[in-house]
Symmetry: C2
Subunit: 326 residues, 2 copies
């Protein structure tokens, strides 16, 4: 199985991506196809891997500032477009990138195309809960959508959850501003009705207050609300971590204190399992396109690649195709 | 100046509310009118305050589970409805309650009425930033609204910000999923255009990622997105605090560690100034109706009452009336 690895666009540089792909190679059977500047990629690969990988040379890069669709159309020599082309031409089974989410979505739509009966592809997030993780979609691609699209997200999310959580009948919830039925905006009310009628193990509304503790395997939402939730969580986390760091920086006593706390704090933070997942698919794309965070380290890239292999072997895309037939 | 104090609906009980109102009385000149079960209220008031307060006896309470509009219409003997009636009949200048937000909003609309040209009242939140606080509205009352209503929220929010931040020309931002122009859903795009054309010191979009650090004095949003953001922030905070507590509970070393960290951690947390504001108004109501959090302690009630007095003395409602004339 060949997986295209776009080495550009990472905050941590090319070496981190290559390192993650190679450590995945130590654990599972696959063939990495690195896409990016060949000479630099080769610098990070030890001899023992020779013959075990391929490279598609690409010198250009799509940046977060680029207009997504325009960049996909014009930057023919970018690593991302070259990876998409190779995926389209069946030179590999899947691709992973830490680059611009907007461009990845544009490429998945414009170059790869959508699964039949899927109207829009969705950006998926694996939300790290305290007890278990949750798949959330859409978290930023699709605004002003209908309840029918929410239903499609629900079906796609459940197909993925079966594999990710090894769960035969994943539970489904709707992101909303109240947990009771009858809460929310017009889209919430219509979506609730539609999901409730469908045979999708729908367990009702989930408030963002309970995102970290919900039992739901899949949470569906429109891309505006989903992105607001995601960025609110990130902003709060960032702020509290910053306060904590400031407290440590300002005091020697606090420095000793944090050293004493570190082991048990680390153990607790592990409950959030931030590293285990690594990457999430753009669901709705005809072929597996995975997005890893721009700040991913090698462990997350490794975990992402292992996820992709599971995703392919389990036939998630075929499962989505089937669920969309109804 | 008389202020109605609904003593029911607090998580911390009647004594906490009474205590807060009395400590405000030690600091500023006003006359508390307690609304609730008279006998119990009297238990918490020392002799030295005799003659300095009034009580409106009320035995019933509106609960969070009650349907807001129905409860306001039917629960005539509840503390909240009695407070609204007294406010309506000019027996006092303002009211504050820790009770159900939905019921407060229903009462403000059904009993007190809205300011001329205000189509809907909004729930206001004072968001505690690292450098400065920010007024955010609407955070839960109004779904599926138009850009014209967003503009009304902007005007009302700025009138309040002038007083709260002592700022002549408060800056205004729009909650959105990207900081650049052209981001967001249809409402975002239309609201951006309208706010940008108005003379409201509009500084553009603010992402939830930057809620704690934004320079904006006022952030406007629809009630769905605002509530999603608010509850995501609360849920993340709650989760991280819980992880932290678990880490401390599980280890003696960590207990010593946190004791060493405590002074500088407390100092940093003070930057979030969570206690200073205490309560926020339902903007658009013809008379001042303030909501305090159900978990408010006496300090927050005290701060809330001081806010109300500032709000009245500065003539915020008159200022909103003027801004709505245009």
């Amino acid at each position: 199985m060949k997986i295209l690895i776009d080495v550009m666009g990472s905050d941590k540089g090319i070496s981190e991506i290559v390192r993650g792909a190679l450590s995945a190679l130590d654990r599972v059977e696959y063939r990495p196809v690195f896409v990016g500047p060949e000479k630099e990629i080769l610098k990070y690969i030890k001899d023992k891997y020779s013959g075990k990988f391929e490279i598609i040379d690409a010198q250009d890069v799509i940046r977060n500032e680029d207009k997504p669709a325009l960049a996909i159309r014009r930057k023919k020599d970018s690593s991302m477009v070259k990876a998409f082309r190779a995926l389209k031409n069946n030179e590999a089974e899947a691709m992973i990138s830490t680059g611009s989410t907007g461009a990845l979505l544009a490429g998945a739509t414009l170059i790869i195309g959508r699964i039949k009966n899927v109207d829009r592809a969705a950006i998926t997030l694996i939300f790290p809960g305290l007890e278990k993780s949750t798949i959330m979609l859409d978290v930023g691609a699709n605004m002003d959508i209908s309840e029918e699209l929410i239903l499609q997200f629900a079906k796609m999310g459940r197909s993925y959850a079966k594999v990710l959580f090894d769960e035969e009948n994943p539970s489904l919830a709707l992101l909303n501003i109240g947990s009771e039925e009858g809460k929310g905006n017009e889209l919430s009310l219509k979506s609730y009705d539609l999901l409730d009628k469908a045979d999708l193990n729908f367990i009702g509304n989930v408030e963002p207050y309970d995102l970290f503790t919900t039992e739901a395997d899949v949470i569906v939402t429109d891309g505006f609300a989903g992105n607001i939730a995601l960025k609110s969580v990130e902003g709060t986390g960032k702020t509290l971590v910053k306060l904590f760091k400031n407290a440590i920086d300002g005091s020697i006593l606090a420095k000793i204190g944090i050293a004493l706390m570190a082991p048990s704090l680390k153990k607790e933070l592990k409950n959030l399992r931030l590293d285990e997942i690594g990457a999430a698919p753009l669901l709705g794309s005809k072929k597996p396109v995975f997005k890893a965070h721009g700040s991913s380290d090698h462990k997350q890239i490794e975990a992402g690649i292992i996820q992709i292999i599971k995703f392919i072997n389990a036939g998630v895309i075929q499962d989505i195709e089937n669920s969309m037939e109804v």
